[in-house]
């Protein structure tokens, strides 16, 4: 669905160098701190920003050359952008009907009712949760083949987050060829939803791994200095000096469990991956 190949984009104080793939039928997560380059990557995929070099293809077509017809097959929810807040949901529904030939008006109305989104209230009077739900709904009610979600659950309470995740799951179940590229700060969302994860930091992809592998195989070894000296470091991705000795991030925790039975091994989730690889681990 998406192939980003050796893309480079230089700004005054930031440089992006990215390669990633989102295959058909897969959910791919793009994680990283604020300012890591997630939104710029998404904008390039959508053809809104032109790369200096490399190529970005969506549906086997250069993203910068995507036509209206191509974009009809993509559903997009951006973190802080949407339809004018002076419009109400009724207006949005009418616009989408004209915008997308495949727009499912019945589904849109049904979901608005289920999610308690008021049809006649102007968007600027919506709560954060309502706005987020509307953004996701707008993206997924025209039978898009590809969803691109930039922080769809940011600032939401648990209930609203679960509602959005349920919507995304329903969307995937309807057609197994559908794909999602999602960015999020909330690791539990990604762990539940994504097949694979890209970690981006300072404009570069640091890690690409299947979510199952991260959850099963990644871990943090907590060792004192003496143990650290003797430790086989072949599967250590990164080590950080701590008060007690070293925190070592590994992608083969079973190796260390078998060969070093005495050491403390904590499970490594996406949060730990982000923190250790981007230098924020405490």
């Amino acid at each position: 669905m998406i192939v980003v190949q050796d893309v480079k984009k230089k700004y005054k104080d930031f440089e992006l160098e990215v390669s990633l793939k989102v295959p058909a039928g897969k959910v791919t997560g793009l994680v990283g701190k604020n300012g890591a380059g997630k939104s710029t990557t998404i904008k390039m995929i959508l053809g809104l920003v032109k790369p200096d070099s490399g190529s970005v293809a969506v549906f086997d077509k250069e993203s910068i050359a995507l036509t209206g017809r191509d974009k009809e097959k993509i559903g997009v929810a951006l973190a802080e952008a949407g339809f004018s807040s002076y419009l109400c949901v009724n207006d949005v529904e009418k616009i989408l009907r004209k915008m997308y030939p495949e727009f499912d008006q019945v589904l849109f109305q049904k979901k608005c009712k289920e999610l308690n989104i008021p049809m006649k209230k102007v968007i600027r009077e919506f709560s954060t949760g309502m706005r987020a739900k509307l953004r996701v709904l707008v993206a997924m009610t025209h039978k898009a083949k590809l969803l691109i979600m930039d922080e769809p659950t940011v600032g939401l309470d648990v209930e609203a987050r679960n509602e959005i995740l349920d919507m995304l799951r329903e969307y995937l179940v309807e057609d197994e060829e559908r794909s999602i590229l999602i960015t999020s700060h909330i690791s539990s969302d990604l762990e539940e939803l994504c097949d694979d994860i890209y970690l981006i930091h300072n404009g570069k992809i640091l890690v690409h791994e299947d979510t199952d592998v991260i959850l099963d195989q990644y871990g943090i070894l907590k060792v004192d200095e003496a143990t650290y000296e003797k430790l086989d470091k072949e599967y250590i991705i990164k080590s950080l000096k701590e008060k007690y000795g070293y925190a070592c991030f590994t992608n083969q925790k079973s190796f260390y469990r078998e060969n070093y039975p005495g050491i403390v091994i904590e499970n490594g989730g996406i949060d730990e991956l982000i923190l250790i690889m981007t230098g924020g681990y405490r």
Partner: protein, 215 residues
């Protein structure tokens, strides 16, 4: 394109109270004010309202979202000219109706046929204004464009003043005579060509301004 028109119509309808107030004021002014004031007043207000949809589009990173929808910059710019153009023509027609009815109510004889050149000159002025404002609005946004338009008008006023001083009274009168000697048909052709040319230049500028915008 149909989706964009729908969006702009719905954005306009959000300000229906203002539109009704403008229309009521136009009817009142048309009736109480003699002359052609109403022919310029209503279309210019409508033009300002329709062009302001660009500001609404830009609010809260709106452009970024808008271009994730199945439209491109060419479709967006084309729709703005069509939308503002149609609104301008409709408001011009309404202003002619108000102008005629007001004249009749005041007991004046209204001969629209003989007034056609004057009526169309208003349409030409409105089109020139549209061609002038849209690219500035796209390039500089709501606040920037206000400032730029004021600066341009200021510079234009100074230029007129300087030209008047440089050319002197005699040359200006001679120029006026030259214009007066142009036949109605010739003048109409010049105006039509001017309008078409200004629209083409304006469209190209709008398109380039939008392409350069960081989304």
């Amino acid at each position: 394109m149909a989706g964009l028109v729908e969006k702009d119509l719905r954005l306009l309808l959000q300000r229906k109270q203002i539109m009704v107030a403008f229309l009521a004021l136009a009817v009142m002014l048309g009736y109480t004010t003699e002359g052609t004031f109403i022919l310029g007043y209503l279309p210019i207000l409508v033009l300002i309202l329709t062009v302001s949809t660009i500001s609404y589009d830009e609010l809260d990173q709106g452009f970024t979202f808008l271009f994730t929808l199945p439209i491109d910059t060419k479709a967006y710019v084309t729709e703005k000219y069509i939308f503002c153009g149609i609104a301008g023509i409709l408001s011009w027609i309404i202003s002619i109706v108000i102008y005629s009815v007001s004249g009749i109510m005041r007991g004046e004889s209204v001969d629209l046929l003989s007034e056609m050149p004057m009526l169309f000159s208003f349409l030409a002025i409105i089109t020139f204004m549209m061609a002038f404002i849209i690219p500035i609005q796209i390039r500089f946004g709501a606040n920037g464009s206000r400032m730029i338009i004021m600066v341009i008008f200021g510079v234009a006023l100074i230029l007129v003043f300087v030209l008047k001083k440089l050319l002197g009274e005699e040359k200006l009168v001679a120029m006026q005579h030259t214009f007066e000697n142009i036949s109605n048909t010739g003048f109409a052709i010049i105006v039509i060509l001017g309008v078409v040319l200004s629209l083409i230049i304006s469209y190209i500028c709008s398109f380039r301004a939008l392409k350069k915008k960081s989304l």
